[in-house]
Structure formats: structure tokens, C-alpha cells
């Protein structure tokens, strides 16, 4: 079983997000970057499957050299090798097209991603990748089991879940519950330094969208306290002051 895990390099979950004074650029200085939490679940699952089937796990990432610590982290957790497409991950179509190009020259039985990255929150790279490769994609998989060439998954839907099945190859995106995060051990960390990390050039992709600026949610006015004894007045207050109920 050959498995590919697509990983993203995102601001640490505790990071304060700041933009330049004109709101045109994201300020990355002072921000620690981590392996996207959902991608980490996907990687854990991939390693479990690889262990059970004597398979291999390759991680792929689109980004410049500054993202290598995140790739090494994935190798320390247990991935066998890595590919970095040396380019700025401009938008989802660009990233998906890079990964698709790599998959076309080197095929995989299973491609795992996280259901969403915590920076752009768009959930579109895996879906676009699947579309470019002509493969099915399960976007909100809470579980994944393999029986021979068939994958079975619980996929989250509005107000519940559906049980879906599909033959390999396919793209599956990890949601909470698919696997536990794995913590790299000392041996993993040591061996990560020497595991193969191949750097490839990007393919050309037309520019269809452009981030023109950023904004922050409006700050809330200071909290209005309601005494605990008068808690019952909450709904009348909400009706009178906010008209939301």
C-alpha cells in the first residue's frame, strides 16, 4: 500500500493573527508554524494503515524552504519520505495542481489529507486534487477502514453521518476521531534528519484568484453582566436589546 499524505504549514493554534497596517499582508514574523492539526490526524491514520499492510507513507507539501521544520516533524512522527514543491502556496487550485502533477508521475493507492487547514479554512485542496485526478473524495471522514481494495468511511453530513464505501484509489480527508495524534519519539526525531526529502519545481497554473486584503472581526463591546439571581431575565434582555430571539 502506497499512501500519500498532503500536509499544510499553518500558524500555531495559539498565535495572534496580525496584518500590515494597510491590511494587505499577513505578518508572519513572531508566529510559530505547525503541522495543520487535521493533517496530523491524517498522517497518524496513514501510518497505522502502512504498519498493518507493510506499506509506505510519503508526505507532500507545497511551500518554500522555511517550511522544512514542519516536513521534518511529519518525518519524525513516522512518514518514510517527503516531497516539497518549492513554491508559494498561492491558492487552493495552485496547491492542488502541484500535488496532482506529482501524483501523475508517481501513483498512490490512497491519498489522505486533513478536512480543512486552519489558515484559509477552505477545504478545497483535497477536493480539487481529486477532481484533477478523476478520483472520488470523502471530505469529512470520521473513520476509515480498509478491506482489500475497498475503503469504508463514516462521513459527516448535516445533522448526522453517512456510511460510504469506495474502491481505491481515492482521496480521504481526516476529521476528528479518525485517529489519535502521535507524538514523535527520540528515534523518530533522530531519523527524520536523514530521511529523503525531495525538492521539486512547481508546474505553471493560471492565476484565477488573488487575496487583496484582510480584516478582523469587529471587537465586541465590553461584556454586560447579569447577576446570577436574575439569570431568568436573559431572554427578555436579548429580545429587547438584540432582537435575536
Amino acid at each position: 500500500m502506497k499512501i500519500l499524505v498532503c500536509i499544510s504549514n499553518v500558524p500555531d493554534t495559539t498565535a495572534k493573527i496580525n496584518f500590515s497596517p494597510d491590511n494587505k499582508n499577513f505578518i508572519s514574523s513572531g508566529v510559530t508554524f505547525i503541522l495543520n492539526p487535521y493533517d496530523e490526524i491524517a498522517l497518524s491514520k496513514a501510518l497505522d494503515i502502512a504498519t498493518a499492510s507493510a506499506g509506505t507513507v510519503t508526505v507532500i507539501h507545497v511551500g518554500d524552504a522555511s517550511t522544512e521544520p514542519t516536513i521534518r516533524k511529519a518525518l519524525a512522527i513516522g512518514a518514510h519520505d517527503a516531497v516539497r514543491v518549492n513554491a508559494d502556496p498561492r491558492d487552493a487550485l495552485f496547491v492542488a495542481s502541484q500535488i496532482a502533477a506529482c501524483v501523475k508521475s508517481d501513483s498512490y493507492d490512497l491519498i489522505l489529507c486533513g478536512r480543512e487547514s486552519s489558515d484559509h479554512n477552505s477545504s478545497s485542496v483535497p477536493v480539487m486534487l481529486a477532481e484533477l485526478l478523476g478520483l472520488p473524495c470523502v471530505l469529512f471522514a470520521k473513520s476509515l477502514t480498509l478491506e482489500g481494495n475497498t475503503a469504508k468511511m463514516d462521513n459527516e453530513i448535516a445533522g448526522g453521518k453517512e456510511v460510504v464505501s469506495c474502491t481505491l484509489p481515492l482521496v480521504v480527508c481526516a476529521s476528528e476521531g479518525m485517529a489519535e495524534w502521535k507524538i514523535p519519539n527520540m528515534r523518530g526525531i533522530m531519523s527524520a534528519r536523514t530521511k529523503p526529502l525531495r525538492v521539486v519545481d512547481a508546474v505553471e497554473v493560471p492565476v484565477l484568484s488573488l487575496i487583496t486584503g484582510y480584516d478582523k472581526p469587529a471587537a465586541r463591546s465590553t461584556v454586560k453582566l447579569i447577576p446570577a439571581d436574575a439569570a431568568g431575565e436573559l431572554f427578555d434582555t436579548l429580545r429587547a436589546e438584540k432582537k435575536i430571539i
Binding site: H120, G160, V164, Y214, P217, L238, I245
Partner: protein, 322 residues
Amino acid sequence: MSVLVYVENQDGKFRNAAFEALSFGNAIATSLGTGMIACSIGKVSDEELKCAGKYGASVILSASPELINPQVCSGILSKAAVSEKATVVIVPASFFGKAVAPRVAVKLKAAYGDNVVELPQMSSGFIVKKGAYSGKAFEYVELLSEVKVISLVPNSFKMVEKPVEIVIKTVDATVSDPEKALKVIDTVRNTNKVSLPDAEIVVSAGRGLKGPENWGMIEELASVLGAATACSKPVSDAGWRPHSEHVGQTGIAISPNLYIAIGISGAIQHLAGVSNSKVIVVINKDPEAPFFKAADYGIVGDAFEVVPKLIEAAKKFKAAGN
């Protein structure tokens, strides 16, 4: 030219997210000076199909393929977009819509604006506003291609009735390669429950509730208010509640009208997923809990005393015809 809107149904009934998408589409069509066409996929009665007319669609295309999955639906939508010369295609940013819209964009070689939260700026160019950094920010994205695909976050655009005469057109839908296709074997719905991402009111609880046996009062308050229930990450990690209720940076991001947080401290990762709620009410026994800084209303008190009072008050409030 036209604006094409995918109206998603659940068991044959259109969901609010579909009517919101139509209302949003109609506003865009009006500024572009074009008409709006709806597209429904799956078995839906004529009576239900006609509901799209209430929100401004003059035509609804209806397809009932033998198999429904994102690949099939994106095929139908992109064909419809071509035949109807759509320049804007709108899909609700639901679980299913998110698995469909990016495929439509790739098929149409169109720019994709995902998780859009308000009407695009169309005076010069076409710029959408979308949520980013898990609720910590918004991004403005210019869509440069002639055809644009947009997914609209549920509960971010109000339904607006604009009744027009509507014509139903059946379109055919053949599934290529059904053997290799993704198949749904079974569907399990949490019965009688409001779906979290679409909910207008969410009642959420955290580790302050001490254990799963204490969720009865949370469910009761939610049911009186017609709200969905949610929880913090440690609560679902401990198995007190299902993962599907976990909100925050690594859970579901929500934007209800009202978010009531009970016994939740307000960690940055939790706030990330809920800060786009219109009004936040926090109940916590610790007056120093960080969540109070991100709240509109706060009640400092013990959840086990405050929540029963809220249930009583909510019952009275509802009984008074609210």
C-alpha cells in the same frame, strides 16, 4: 448570462441554506442585470421545487441521477452552468456543498470563492469576503476569471422572499463509471436534533459540567430554545459528547445568532470557532474566565444553579408566544 444556484435538499426538502443561497444569488443577479436559475439534484416533489420561485428563481432545473455523490452533482451543475451561460455559480457551504463546489470550479476553469459571508463587491472587479484563520480574521479575495463559483456560509445571508413565476425543467443525468463511484451505504441522522452548522441558536458546554451525566439540562435548554448543542474539545476527547459537537479551531466553526457557552473557559482555540456568533452569552463560575472578554452578556455563577433557572425562564418566554 445568468446566476446559477444549487438548491440542496435533505430527504426531498430544501434546507434554509438553499433559500439563503437563492436570496444571495438573486441579489447578485439583480446587480448584474441577469436572471437566476436554480438547480436541484435528487428526488424532490414539484411542489417543493416550486418553492425556489418564492426566492426569485424563474427556472429550476431538476435532475434525479441513479446515484448521488459530489462527483455526480458537480457534473450536473457544471453542465447546467455551461448550458445556462452562468457567470456566477452559488453553492451552500454545507458539508456536501464543500465537497461539490471546488469540483465545479475546476471543471469550469473558474475561480472559487469559498466560505463567503456577504455580498461580493462588484463595482470594480469581483471581490468576496470569506472567513479565515479559524474565525480570527476575514480575507478578501478577488475572483479574476469570467465564471466564478462561490460557496456561501449558512446563516450569513438573510432569506429574502421575491416571489416570481417558476418553470420546472427536468434535465437528464447519467452516471459514468458507477462501479468506481463513491456509494452511500447508510445514512444515520441524529433524530429531532437541530444541525449544528445551520443552527440559529447554539447551547454549548465545557469541562465545567464535570461529566456526561450532567448534559440533561444542556439538552433541555437547547430543546426549549430550538437550539443545537455543542461542546468544547476536551469534552468530546473524553467521550462525554460526540466529536460532531466539538466547536473551535479544530472542530466546527459556527456563526449562529446566539451562542450560549456554559462552563467553558474561552481558550483561544475555542474562541476561534465561535467568535463569529452574533451574540455570545457566557456562564462561568470564575469571574476571571477569559471567555467574559469575548462575550456580550455574562452570568458569573454555578452552571448547576444558573441553567435550571434559564430553562424555567426559556419555557415562560416561549409560552408567552415568543
